[in-house]
């Protein structure tokens, strides 16, 4: 359900300047029909996770070509394709790297057979008090501040929201993120700014133990950086017209997105952006791209990957069977820039395509059903509308047509610890978790455990049997001479982050990350996922089903 943006035009030859703001799916259809008028193309400007795109919907196709940009949607489509028994051609690009894989039920591994990169988690205190890396700041901004400002305000989060004033006032439950009626947007913005960059820093400084061996941060207040009121400063605030996406840069007259801003400019952008996000007609915060360590897609790699997708799709349609995974490399490996690899067989312990049971270590006297639903069922298993059963007893369910008393029942269950549920869940219990839309069922064997390591196991849950990538380890297995390697592990690749190869060093092939953006998959994972709010990029995937042409673009790397 993406719409076209100016910055897409450098790699999307179906779109023109005049299409900015329109549905990608619809414009793509019209553009293809112009040079190929007699084929049938149905555009859906919708989220692929919508319930009408169910197994029956998928069954009407002979092949599905994914051009998605996030892990969640990929997993969702993978399950639907498995359930509908429709072959799936997956793809992704990032910079000059790209990959195409084919997933055919029972013949090749499914998208989830290989462990995904272990989600990186960061201890809360690092994020809130002692950030030392750039990524810590991104995580803080995306998962704490952004969530407080634009997400569900009631969702718990580790950002301190109590202000100093409220300690003295009678209503000390006051949340600084609530805007009072008599405040204008700049006042509100300055109050947030002073709170997160001033007061909260002072609060952190008050714990002197923390700073013994660290450089102390300096609290900042907006009046020191920007003494004058913003509105008197921008002459050209009227430059933003309603059609262009809200942009603080545009309204502040900042031209070059590659410029490095000084503190004062950063402050102005912060205040202006806050105002625009709240007041702009475009309330689709979910569609706004969020900062991260993004490696963008370029037209050439997309073209190559699109060609490879079509080659594999034709094989699927011809029932050729000689499917291949292909990697586009930036630096040749064994003279190859395009490296074909034989697909792997389905992983027999894959809980998705082989329905292997999982086991979960959890403190059944302390963890609530809500924790289980959020951290395991949604975050780890990627279920959209789950149903949870203990034996024959229904503990929880999501759906549109539930009776009122059932909803109350489930809501009450969410707040109960596992061992106190109507059908108690304790060590030795087998839970069945099911997603009716994905037609995906998973059995989870519960093991009770008292203590968890706060830093290493911040979820207070350990799911095993789940394909989780082990921490990076070197694999020096070499491949068999000429030809495609038979194991992805043989492939020599470079770090995606800097796009360079280290000669002679074998390393696992990183999966090319989704879509144009590493951050949408990885970064989302890189958050403290126990505190994760909502996926901000959940709903911006197009579902474009064309007769024999796939949406190009986008990739995600999956890791092995």
């Amino acid at each position: 359900m993406d719409t076209i943006e100016v910055s897409n035009l450098n790699r999307q030859f179906l779109f023109r300047q005049s299409h900015v703001g329109q549905s990608k799916a619809k414009v793509a259809r019209d553009a293809v029909l112009r040079f190929r008028p007699h084929i049938s193309i149905t555009p859906y400007h919708a989220n692929v996770k919508d319930s009408n795109f169910n197994v029956n919907f998928f069954k009407q196709f002979n092949v599905v070509l994914n051009g998605l940009d996030n892990l969640d949607a990929r997993r969702h489509v993978n399950r639907l394709c498995l359930a509908a028994e429709v072959p799936l051609v997956e793809s992704g690009t990032t910079g000059f790297l790209g990959q195409v894989t084919v997933h055919v039920k029972g013949k090749t591994e499914c998208y989830e057979c290989q462990p995904k990169p272990a989600p990186k988690t960061y201890p809360v205190c690092t994020i809130t008090s002692t950030p030392s890396k750039f990524v810590h700041c991104i995580v803080w901004a995306k998962d704490l501040l952004f969530a407080k400002l634009f997400g569900d305000k009631n969702q718990e989060n580790d950002l301190n929201v109590r202000s100093n004033d409220s300690c003295s006032s009678s209503e000390n439950k006051n949340n600084v993120f609530e805007r009072s009626d008599d405040e204008d947007w700049e006042q509100y913005g300055r109050r947030i700014y002073d709170h997160v960059f001033g007061y909260n820093i002072e609060l952190a400084l008050s714990d002197e133990e923390t700073w013994k061996n660290r450089t102390k941060p300096r609290p900042m207040y907006s009046r020191d950086v920007l003494p004058d009121k913003m509105t008197q400063q921008n002459g050209n605030a009227d430059k933003t017209d309603d059609l262009s996406p809200a942009s603080a840069m545009a309204s502040l007259g900042l031209k070059n997105p590659q410029d490095i801003w000084c503190l004062m400019e950063n402050t102005r952008v912060f205040l202006e952006a806050l105002k625009l996000f709240f007041t702009s007609r475009k309330k689709e915060i979910g569609n706004l791209s969020i900062a991260g360590n993004i490696v963008h897609a370029v037209a050439t790699t997309n073209a190559i990957v699109a060609g490879l997708i079509v080659i594999e799709a034709i094989k699927v349609l011809k029932k050729d069977g000689c499917y291949r995974m292909t990697y586009c490399l930036e630096h040749p490996s064994k003279k190859m820039l395009l490296m074909p690899v034989e697909p792997f067989e389905p992983n027999k312990s894959c809980c998705v395509c082989s329905q292997t049971p999982l086991s979960l270590e959890i403190n059944t006297h302390r963890s609530k059903l809500r924790d289980f639903v959020e951290k395991i069922v949604k975050a780890k298993l990627g279920m959209n509308s789950p149903l949870i059963m203990c034996g024959l007893a229904l503990l929880y369910e999501v759906g549109d047509d539930l009776e009122k008393d059932m909803i109350e029942n489930y809501t009450a269950n969410l707040e109960k610890v596992l061992s106190e549920l109507p059908s108690p869940v304790t060590g030795g219990t087998m839970l069945t978790v099911e997603d009716l839309q994905q037609e995906f069922t998973c059995n989870i064997y519960i093991k009770h455990r008292e203590e968890f390591d706060e830093e290493k196991e911040p979820d207070e849950m350990v799911l095993s049997g789940w394909t989780q990538a082990p921490p990076e380890k070197k694999d020096d297995k070499t491949s068999n001479g000429n030809g495609a390697s038979t194991s992805k592990k043989d492939i020599e690749v470079k770090e995606i982050s800097d796009g360079t190869a280290s000669p002679g060093k074998k390393r696992k092939l990183p999966e090319f990350s989704e879509g144009c953006t590493l951050d949408q998959s990885n970064d989302a994972d890189e958050t403290m996922n126990h505190k994760k709010i909502q996926k901000l990029d959940d709903d911006d995937d197009d579902l474009v089903m064309l007769d024999h042409w796939g949406k190009d673009t986008s990739k995600k790397q999956r890791s092995q």
Binding site: F13, F35, P257, Q258, T300, A303, I311, L338, A501
Partner: protein, 323 residues
């Protein structure tokens, strides 16, 4: 590099790719002038890529009229025959490409490619020709080489589900970056004539079979006075005979050029659109590298065959010490 700043419009449109290859590279791109010949599927893909990327200008040469093949394999062609009538392939492609990116000047040069003198090529930084005879490839390559400035020269051919790219950057210096290390490199490219004159027996053992097969086809078409692609299954016996002769002369075991591969190249003279996308993508990337100075350019042949799925770089140059 110092140069004119990118405009606000350029920065907005090219924002994402500037984040991949840098503002410097973008500035060089926007000042580059590119000539292409042969508006079939592969060149079309290539043009799309570099027009989107934002080169300064693109000049198209192809006076041929629209054929049914072009209509079915070229997404720049409007399906409406009325629009096509009276216009050449190059003119129709120009009209479409102009819409792709208003900041790139796309124009048409009429005339026969081989009639353009050396000074004509001086206007360009990059020359890409496709579906040309052996003689034309050599001739245009030599004309580019006669100029005092470097004109990067590329040939590209797609037949059946195979593709070949040849690159001549003459003498090319670049910074090779690997992790934190940067090495200054200098590459010395042979001309097309020099490359194909390298004795086959002196080539490494595993050179792509496509390299040999393409040379056989090229020689056959040349000897018979055919236009590129003017070949069919009836020619196969003569092609196989020629292969045998060449292999004997070059002391190469005939098994290096499978008959089945030659048969595919003889019968499948049309381009296969997904291979056009792949070859046009690789070629676009190489041209962007050469103009921007960013990235390691390939030297000096690239082959793709969708039957084995490999995209291979081959260095076919005289193994004597480089100058």
């Amino acid at each position: 590099m110092v140069g004119e700043e990118l405009t606000e419009q350029e920065t907005a449109l090219y924002d994402r790719q500037i984040r991949v290859w840098g503002a410097d590279a973008q500035r060089r791109l926007s000042k580059s002038h590119i000539l292409v010949y042969g508006m079939k599927g592969t060149i079309t893909e290539f043009c799309k890529n570099i027009v989107l990327a934002g080169v300064g200008s693109l000049t198209l040469v192809d006076d041929r009229a629209v054929t049914e093949e072009a209509l079915s394999a070229n997404f720049l062609m409007p399906p409406d025959e009325n629009v096509c009538s009276g216009k050449t392939l190059a003119e129709l492609c120009r009209d479409s490409l102009n819409e792709f990116n208003p900041m790139v000047r796309v124009s048409v040069e009429k005339g026969d490619l081989t009639s353009f003198g050396v000074e004509f090529f001086d206007k360009f930084d990059v020359v890409v020709i496709s579906f040309c005879s052996l003689a034309t490839k050599k001739m245009i390559n030599e004309r580019c080489r006669k100029l005092s400035k470097r004109v990067s020269f590329y040939t590209v051919d797609c037949r059946d589900c195979c593709g070949e790219i040849f690159v001549d950057l003459q003498k090319y210096n670049y910074a090779m970056k690997r992790l934190d290390e940067t090495t200054e490199c200098e590459l010395q490219y042979p001309s097309f004539q020099e490359a194909i004159s390298v004795p086959w027996r002196s080539l490494p053992r595993k050179v792509s079979k496509l390299y040999f097969a393409m040379r056989v086809i090229e020689r056959f078409e040349e000897a018979e006075g055919r236009k590129p692609g003017e070949i069919c299954i009836e020619d196969l016996p003569a092609v196989l005979k020629l292969k045998k002769e060449i292999c004997e002369a070059q002391s190469l075991n005939e098994s290096h050029i499978p008959n089945a591969l030659l048969e595919r190249l003889v019968t499948g003279t049309r381009e296969f659109p997904p291979v056009c996308a792949i070859i046009g993508g690789i070629l676009g990337q190489e041209v962007i590298k050469a103009i921007s100075g960013k990235g390691d350019p390939l030297k000096n042949f690239f082959f793709f065959d969708s039957v084995d799925g490999k995209g291979i770089i081959e260095d076919i140059s005289d193994p004597t010490p480089k100058g």
